[in-house]
Assembly symmetry: C2
Homo-oligomer: 90 residues x 2
């Protein structure tokens, strides 16, 4: 079975996450899953495209899942969109 490695994309610079994904592929992973919420979704897509175009040309996208997560905040619950992008090295 392929190893599953998850990278959560947040507020750090884009290249930090690119490096994290590339490192996992270089460690032998076949599948890396990028997860992000809210405004970080755009950054997760950037990370995926930079990895594919510059570092791992054999990369293919697997499922791209979109959903909503409920966050508990001080002023009550808020809903935030989320994305999961499967990256597969062939």
């Amino acid at each position: 079975m392929a190893e599953e490695n998850v990278v959560f994309v947040g507020k750090k610079p884009t290249m930090n996450y690119v490096l994290a994904v590339v490192t996992q592929f270089n460690s032998g992973a076949d599948l890396v899953i990028l997860k992000a919420r809210g405004r970080a979704i755009s950054k997760a897509v950037d990370v995926a495209e930079i990895v594919r175009n510059r570092f791992v040309p054999t990369l293919k996208y697997g499922n791209v899942n979109i959903g909503t997560e409920s966050l508990q905040g001080e002023k009550g619950d808020t809903n935030v969109s989320s994305i999961e992008i499967e990256l597969r090295k062939e």
Copy 2:
């Protein structure tokens, strides 16, 4: 053949695009494609989730395609990530 309707998500408020999508489904469309680039990608995901959770419960996601587009700017070409989200009413 299903009608193809495209909604480009940009800088307007999220609910403008939600309304555009809902209007197309109410006009008889089976398939609406949301397209966005750069930072608007997060907004496109929000639009999709709001339409699905609040307005069109029978909505299913079709393909979600990720890519890179080259934009010609004053300071030369820049690459920007893009997304296409297929929304299908069943």
